[in-house]
């Protein structure tokens, strides 16, 4: 399979992004649960290259934020108190891979100045740090759950479409059953049997399991439709006449036909699953405070007063657009890459 240059570049870009999320501890300047209670809803930090006397600083400056005494969450910069941004500084301890202890951060600034690249939330917690750490749960859970869903969906969809008959009827009615049931109550019931507090790790596994388990029905039906028509292709019939085994046929001729559907579904499912975390949090199956997640960050936006008053709370959402755009393009490249290879 030939992979185009564009696809390679996209791949590298996405890989880099995932690495940043993976090494969030290093890239994030603050601890995610640290509440700066005197700085709620602080706007993104202003980076200055000029100090108050107009002198140019090669090392960018950040100034101390002061809340106005007469209004909630309205700030002015104290230009007299500015501190340089430092790189590779020591700060809050964290663990890499959950193993290596470290306290070196890519950047930071001396107290009392603060550097909030994306502003702060209602508790005065750094949104940028939370965004990076949030990806650890949301992005990876989304990816793994998508793979799980698609593997299940492809397996059952292919079986149903290929063999037909009672197997098809059974699997498809099963899919319909899955689509129609009020899963919410099942999850509420499941929650009642789980221990009171779920660690972020448990929540991560729960998320993947629940989504992967419930989500297979849709892709299965879509794949079955493709398999139904692709098993009637002349070359498939011919191969069968030559005595090709079912396994061989499915692997060599049928599954490749479902490739583009699988890719499309993957692109659509990842963001859906990131958002699904919100619903699960509501049932107590998510990560829960103070663990950050992209789903919960997007859900604070769905509050009219926040949306209207603090525009910078939109930034995490906007940053996600290029990420998912990257996925969409990658899928598109992979699809055409395969086609050119095939022709």
């Amino acid at each position: 399979m030939k992979i185009s240059i564009q696809a390679r570049m996209l791949g590298v870009m996405l890989l880099g992004l995932h690495l940043i999320v993976f090494f969030a501890g290093f890239f994030a300047p603050y601890e995610t649960s640290l509440q700066n209670r005197d700085l709620p809803f602080a706007p993104p930090a202003h980076i200055h290259f000029l100090d108050i006397q107009g002198k140019i600083h090669p090392r960018p400056l950040v100034c101390v934020l002061v809340e106005r005494s007469d209004a909630f969450a309205e700030y002015f910069e104290d230009r007299g108190h500015c501190f340089p941004v430092r790189f590779l500084v020591r700060g809050a301890p964290y663990k890499l891979f959950g193993l290596m202890r470290s306290n070196v951060h890519l950047f930071g600034v001396d107290a009392p100045a603060t550097i909030f690249l994306m502003g702060t939330d209602a508790y005065g917690r750094d949104v940028f740090s939370r965004f990076l750490y949030g990806g650890q749960i949301s992005l990876f859970a989304g990816l793994i759950a998508t793979v799980l869903t698609l593997v299940l969906g492809a397996l059952l969809g292919t079986l149903a479409g290929y063999y037909g008959g009672w197997l098809d009827a059974g699997i498809m009615r099963g899919a319909e059953l899955f689509l129609a049931l009020p899963w919410l109550y099942f999850l509420i019931a499941v929650r009642a049997f789980l221990p009171l507090s779920l660690s972020p790790k448990d929540a991560f596994v729960m998320l993947i399991a629940v989504i992967g388990f419930v989500g297979w029905a849709r892709p299965a039906r879509l794949i079955r439709a493709v398999v139904l028509s692709s098993r009637e292709h002349h070359y498939v019939l011919a191969a069968r006449l030559f005595g090709a085994s079912d396994m061989y046929l499915m692997r060599r001729h049928i599954l490749p036909d479902t490739y583009s559907i699988l890719l499309t579904q993957a692109v659509l499912l990842i963001p859906q699953y990131v958002l699904a975390e919100v619903t699960l949090s509501f049932l107590g199956l998510g990560a829960g405070e103070p663990t950050p997640s992209w789903g919960s960050m997007l859900s604070t936006l769905q509050q009219y007063s926040v949306l209207v008053s603090y525009w910078w709370m939109l930034i995490p959402g906007l940053v996600l657009v290029p990420v998912f755009f990257g996925y969409v393009l990658l899928a598109s490249e992979l699809q055409s890459g395969r086609k050119t290879a095939a022709s």
Binding site: M172, F186, R221, A225, I261, T264, P271, G317
Partner: protein, 322 residues
Amino acid sequence: MRFLVHRLLHSIFLLVGISLLSFAFLELAPGNFFDEMRLNPQISHDTLVHLEKQYGLDHSFAERYLAWVRSAVKGDWGVSFAYGSPVAPLIWTRARNTLLLTGLAMLLSWMIALPVGLLGAAERGRWLDNFFSLGTSLLLVTPDLLLALGLLWLALRTHWFPAGGMQSLSSSSAHADKLKDVAFHLMAPVAILVLGGLPVLVRHIRAAAIDALQQPCIRAARSHGISRVRILFRHGLPLAAAPLVSLFGFSLASLLSASLLVEVVMSWPGLGPLLLEAILARDVYLVIGAVMLAALFLAGGMLITDCLLFAADPRIRTEKLA
């Protein structure tokens, strides 16, 4: 014919299965409708027990299920705890409004998604396709609720469309005026549903069309000098049919459930507000009534899908009937 009879039988089994499992799920979930009253210091424990008895919550699972089946056959579909009245009329008066909204939204989204998806496929890799891809990525990360709030905010600023509801309070009783009023109120919620549903449709249509355009017959047609647009709609579309028909089936199946959250934010008098309240309040029979109605749509949608699939591909049909 035999196929249809088979499928109908299957659907009946399916509905019974769904109702039984839904009952089981609701049984397993902790808490019941009257729990909210527990927090009211002015209602005693005895009264709660009496109320639970009055609504038959002390009966066994089997007894309650059978009572519900009897009531469903009668056309009541059980009694809502909150409203103290049969479920069927409660759901039906609101389901009509939901269907008006989602039906229109579905029609529009397919009308927009088809040309956009096909164009994206034809212009693959060029700026128009990339533009569409960026648009769908943007819509994918935007929760419907955020979209709804954004539009409401726009409504406040511009007064281009109303900020929610289905009818103005002071609308005249003339038929034409009423229709115009409802159409005016439909604009924003339909727009949200269309925008929310577009990415899925566009991505699938585009992918299917790309696959179809790779087929030998299309390449042959192109070499014969047939125009691109003609190829796309006359030859490409039918070839891409299989996944699209399934997708269409899903659109049909989700007519009742696609708009629930949007309805709540836009104060649309559909099933959304009624159901979300009922779900949280454990108004068991109301929830199951809605689940059953949605299941009916699902079974219907899937049946239509299968019929269309077989109609589109004669080879499948002959084999099935054999």
